[in-house]
Structures are given as C-alpha cells and as structure tokens.
C-alpha cells in the first residue's frame, strides 16, 4: 500500500482542519518502507505524548497536510529516519522528552537531554529522578582522513547570538564535516503549557522564538480556534496578517544587513539596522510592543491597532521601500561583497526537497512552498502574494528571496491597512474539547502547531514545530567544502532559530 493509503486507512480522530489518523503499531511499522517508495510525501514533524507517537506529513503534489499516530507499544515505535532524514532529530528529541525509542533509528544519541535535568523523560508521564550524576561527554560523528583536526565552537558565541555548539572537522581550511549540538536553551516549554488554558498557554507560543513571536502566536491561536471551531473577526484576521508581514520585514532587513556585515561590509548593515529601527518603533506606536509580542491571542487580536498607528507604519515602510533599490545597488555592485556571497554555502535543491525545507532556505534552493499559498489560510486566500523562488541555492539566492519578499510584504501591509475591516478584534473562547492544528508562514518558514483541549478548554497535548527543525541539518550540508571563515556568512544566511528547536 502507498504511504498515503496506509495513513488514510487509520481511524480518523476528528482533528481539524488536518485530519489525524490513528494507525496500529503494525501499520505504522510499514510506513518507513512505504515512505521510501513515495518521495512526494514530506515529513513535517514528529512528536509524541505518553505512549503515542505522532507525525505530520505534507503531500507535495496536492499540498494537503495529514497527521498520523500510533501507539508506542512497550515504549517503542518504528523509526521513520531511514526513509526521512528530517526525522533524525525529532526521534532523538522524542526519546529525551517522552522516553520513547525509535526502532531502527539512524541516530540514537541524545539531543535535548544533556544529562543536566533533575529527571529523565520529563514529558513521559512518569519521569525518573536522576540523582546528580556527572553529565556525559557529547559524542560526535567520526571523520577519517589525513590531517583532520577539530574546531569546537560554543555554546557561547562571539557575537550577540543564541547559544549552541558547533563541531567542525577541518582539513586545512576546508570544512569536512560540521555537526551542530543544540538543546542548550531547552526551557521545558511544552511541559509548561500542559494543564493551562489556551489563553494562558499562548504566552509560551509567543516565546518559542522571539523573532517569530507573531507567526508562532498566530499558529497557536489558529490551532486553538480550529480545535474549537471558532471564527475570528475579519478585523483580527487582517491585523494578524499585517503584524506577520511586519515581522517578516523587520527580520529580513536585519539579516540582509548582517549577511553584508559578516562579509565585512558595514554600510548596508547600518542602513538596514536604521530602517528596521523605524519599523519597530512604528510597531510600538501601532500595537504597543516593538516585536508585537502577545498581540495575537486565541480568539483574535488585542489590543486593537492604536489611532495613528497605521500612518506610523506606512511612513516607516515608505522609508524602507525608498531605500531598497539603493541598497540593492550597493549589494550588487561591490565585487568584494559578491565574491563572498555568490557560490558560498550551496544547498543542493535535492537536499532541500528531501528535508522539505521551508522558508527562504527552501525557496532559495528551488522548493516553491509557502504555507500562505498552499495549504493557504485567510486572509492570504484573497491577497495571493507572489512567491519568490531562486534556483541558485547559495547565500546570494537566499538573500535575493528575502529582498523580493521584503517588497511583497510591504505591498501586503499597505493593502491590509488600507482595507482594514471595521468591528471587534477579539471573541471569547467557548470551553469545549477539540483537537486542532495550523500551519502559518513565518519569516523563516512554516510554523506547525498541534494541540488537544479537554472539555474545560485546558491543554492536554501540544507540539510546536519551528521551521528550523528541517533547516538546521541542511546548514551542515551547505557548509561542507567551504572554508571555515565563510561559516558565519552561511549561518546568517540560514538564520535558524535555536530557541525554536530547543523547546
């Protein structure tokens, strides 16, 4: 049976808007072979709750999303990593958090658990106390060859960036293998959300990755609303999209500047930083918070946009738009800068497709996926933004996708603010049970949230999947064969979230 058929043969669980099918352990065990034969079914995420494993898939042909689950009998389930390399880190995280092991897994080293928590399997339902043993030394994949040496970097890095460890294996100046070890920022976010009402738990979704606070806040709210079968007022829908596009704009500006800065080109960095500051101040005027944190809530948006806020935003965006052509000229016309970005950090479109990489990482390597278009959600169904896709796969291609998106996002915000519907922005949440999921396109890619509420409207199961899960492993592929000095540039061109995947 095809993988799609295998999943659909399970029992529907009534999840909205993407159905979840409960498979027998035996049917699930057939998935790895079926997936291997069906490359068009992309794995979006893999997670668990005590005794059960869940997966989210995207049918690349129809852009339909579907979820599959199976009981993990005896704490074990069949690994999907032999067929989907993107599953590797999820399987490692599932063992660390829920105590379930993936049979036949490609990699069974710990991931989030560094041996420093007071318990093992904190989400497993019966966490085992772990008396203060010495944390184990991490193991890295071996490299063989003449003159290979290692460079350990982090967890604390030289710039103002998030902590994580990078282990480089180097031959001369060339990177033979990079392996990231993350998990330093694990905060137990999912565990803290359980047992809270949807409104109270929204604060954690908004803090999964601060740079994507609007996108994750929206994905969470949309999953709650889907679970409850709740419609949000049109004004709230438009404001959510305006905030999400403003978030895209400020992040794209930031990273464009930083990529140039990492190539020792400070001028675009200074200008992008200044323009971005203007956008953030306008956001503060309009929404009362520079990053617009905690503004998207289950049930709508609060507070409403302030009087005069729209003008402040439009003025800031005019300034950005006016300067993009000049900045682009500077970016394109300096050979020293182009020399650093063109051809650097090449991500093979084959890898991008195998990992179902979203956002500008995928779109910079020819994968034309954007959750705003398909599966799609309001208000983008009416706005239909153009998708920018580049085939180059290098740092330059990722920058170009982002510059194109800057322009599209500015046009979207203008349209949204000029046609803002009147009316309320927040409706109360009915207390009822339900299961929902949502896919919302943040600046980095699609944010996938899934949750189940009980009759009292309290969260019983939840997973928040940042797009970086499927992008981080590709950074390791993109840096291979590059010189060590180009790593900051490659890293910045991916700009994966540490907090988003450390949970």
């Amino acid at each position: 049976m095809s993988a799609l058929g295998l999943i659909r043969s399970g029992t529907p669980q009534g999840a909205r808007p993407f159905e979840r099918f409960l498979l027998t352990a035996q049917a699930w065990a057939g998935l790895p072979a079926a997936l291997a034969a069906e490359p068009s079914l992309a794995l979006l995420g893999l997670w668990a709750e005590p005794g059960t494993v869940h997966a989210a898939f995207l049918d690349e042909a129809s852009h339909a999303v579907l979820l599959a689950s199976a009981p993990a009998e005896g704490g074990r389930y069949a690994a999907l990593s032999p067929a989907r390399p993107g599953a590797i880190r999820f399987e490692r995280a599932i063992r660390d958090l829920w105590g379930l092991s993936a049979e036949g897994a490609v990699d069974d080293r710990p991931w989030l658990d560094h041996g420093r928590w007071p318990v093992a399997g904190p989400m497993s339902g019966n966490p085992a106390p772990r008396p203060g043993a010495e944390p184990p030394q991490p193991e890295f994949l071996p490299v063989e060859g003449e003159g290979i040496h290692q460079i350990p970097v982090g967890p604390i890095h030289a710039g103002v960036i998030e902590p994580g460890h990078f282990r480089f294996h180097i031959q001369g100046e060339v990177v033979v293998r990079l392996e990231a070890r993350l998990g330093y920022k694990h905060k137990g976010t999912l565990g803290l959300m359980l047992g809270k009402t949807a409104r109270a738990a929204a604060a954690f979704a908004a803090r999964l990755s601060g740079d994507s606070t609007v996108a994750h806040g929206w994905a969470f709210a949309a999953a709650v609303e889907a679970a409850l079968g709740l419609e949000v007022p049109p004004r709230a829908v438009a404001l959510r999209a305006a905030m999400a596009e403003l978030e895209r704009i400020h992040n794209h500006l930031n990273d464009w500047g930083f990529v140039c800065n990492d190539a020792a080109f400070a001028f675009p960095h200074a200008r992008c930083g200044f323009l971005r500051e203007g956008v953030l101040r306008a956001c503060a005027d309009a929404f009362g918070h520079r990053l617009m944190m905690d503004r998207v809530l289950p049930g709508g948006v609060a507070p409403d946009i302030a009087p005069g806020g729209g003008q402040a935003i439009l003025a800031a965006l005019d300034a950005v738009e006016a300067e993009i052509p000049a900045l682009l000229r500077v970016y394109e016309s300096h050979a020293s800068l182009q020399d650093r970005v063109v051809g650097t950090g090449f991500l093979d479109p084959v890898h991008a497709a195998r990992f179902a990489a979203g956002g500008f990482v995928g779109r910079g390597s020819g994968r034309a996926f954007d959750a705003r278009i398909a599966p799609g959600y309001a208000p983008y169904d009416l706005l239909a933004p153009a998708i920018a896709v580049e085939a180059g796969g290098d740092v330059d291609a990722r920058v170009r996708v982002r510059v194109a998106e800057l322009r599209t996002a500015i046009a979207l915000v203008r349209r949204l603010l000029m046609t803002l519907p009147e009316g309320e922005t927040l409706v109360p949440l009915p207390a009822r049970a339900g299961e929902g999921a949502a896919l919302v396109e943040g600046f980095r890619g699609e944010c996938l949230h899934w949750l189940r509420l009980d009759e009292g409207g309290v969260i019983r199961a939840v997973f928040l999947r940042d797009p970086s899960w499927l992008q981080w492993p590709l950074l390791e592929a993109a840096i291979e064969g590059n010189i060590v000095a180009d790593f900051p540039l490659c890293n910045k061109s991916f700009n994966c979230s540490y907090s988003g995947v450390d949970l």
Binding site: R116, W117, V119, P163, S209, G210, N254, F274, S499
Partner: protein, 177 residues
C-alpha cells in the same frame, strides 16, 4: 557629486537619538556596590559581553538593536566585545537554563574583576514565564551573582541603555554618603 551630499548632510537631522539620563536611585545603589579601586580601574567606559543563558531570542534582538546607529553606543563609552576576557560587564539574557549553567559559570570565571553582571529581561530577572520548569534554575541570579536587573519582555533598547548608563554613572560619581 560631493557638494550636494555635503549640504544635505549639514541640514538633515542626525540619525542618532539624543542621550537619555540614568535613574538617580539605581545609580546610587550601584555606586554602593562598587569599591573605589574598581571605579578607578573601570573609568568611564564599559566593555560588554552578552551571554544568552536560554532566552527566546527576543532579548537578543533588542540587544542587537541597541547597537544600531539610532543609539550609537560608543558615544557613551559602551562597546560590545567578543570575549568575556575583554569584558567589564556580562549582560545576561534569558532564564538560567540547566543546560547552560556550566557555560555561564565558565564565562563568569573568564571575566576579570572588577566586573558587573546584569540580568536583562524578565526571564533573566526571575525566570519569567519559564520559572518552575524542570529545565531552568530560575533567573540568572540562581547561577551568577547579579548586580543589576533590567526588567521587560524584552526590555527595549532605551531601557537597556538606561541600565547601562546607570553603571557608567555609578563608576563616575563619588560614592554616595
């Protein structure tokens, strides 16, 4: 053409915001903590090393924004450095994650005295929304000796600047009383 540009630069407003003032109370409290010898050694400038002990990265965004041209930090004698060995201030953001505790302690051990530890952001102050999790110790103070708290989620660049200026003032002012 150079001339039109020069003329435009002469008549246009500077990009940089005017400087704010540090809150007197905070300055006095910080002054109390600082020995005279330390004051002599730190002078009126501070090298800052940012350490993220597990933030959501919202605080990093604002620390980064603080370095843009609108704030122009170096006019105050404030400057971010790449190593704790070159730092007078550890500016710590995020709750103290258990997986980061050893790295935080090592960063402190590398920072020469006299030094300040600043906990920036609600998470760094007391763990914020993450307090009580199995994965965090609490605020930064649970792992490092903290001199100054800057609340906010995240604190805005202006609030961060106000805190850092208070440190500078504390170094400059003769000890209160």
């Amino acid at each position: 053409m150079l001339w039109p540009r020069l003329v435009r630069a002469l008549v246009s407003r500077p990009l940089t915001d005017p400087a704010g003032a540090a809150p007197a109370e905070t300055v006095a409290a910080l002054g109390e903590r600082l020995a005279t010898t330390a004051r002599a050694r730190l002078g009126r400038s501070l090298a800052i090393r940012e350490v993220d002990s597990g933030s959501c990265n919202g605080c990093e965004l604002e620390v980064n924004a603080l370095q843009n041209v609108a704030y122009d930090l170096e006019r105050f004698g404030l400057r971010f450095v790449a190593s704790p060995r070159h730092a007078d201030v550890l500016l710590v953001t995020g709750p103290a994650c258990r997986n980061m505790a050893e790295a935080m302690e090592r960063a402190l051990a590398c920072t020469p005295e006299p030094r300040w530890v600043v906990a920036a952001g609600d998470c760094a102050v007391d763990g914020g929304v993450f307090k009580g999790s199995y994965a965090v110790h609490g605020g930064v103070g649970a792992v490092l000796p903290v001199d100054l708290l800057i609340p906010g989620c995240p604190p805005s660049p202006a609030q961060l600047l106000e805190g850092l200026l208070a440190l500078l003032e504390a170094e400059a002012a003769p000890r209160q009383k």
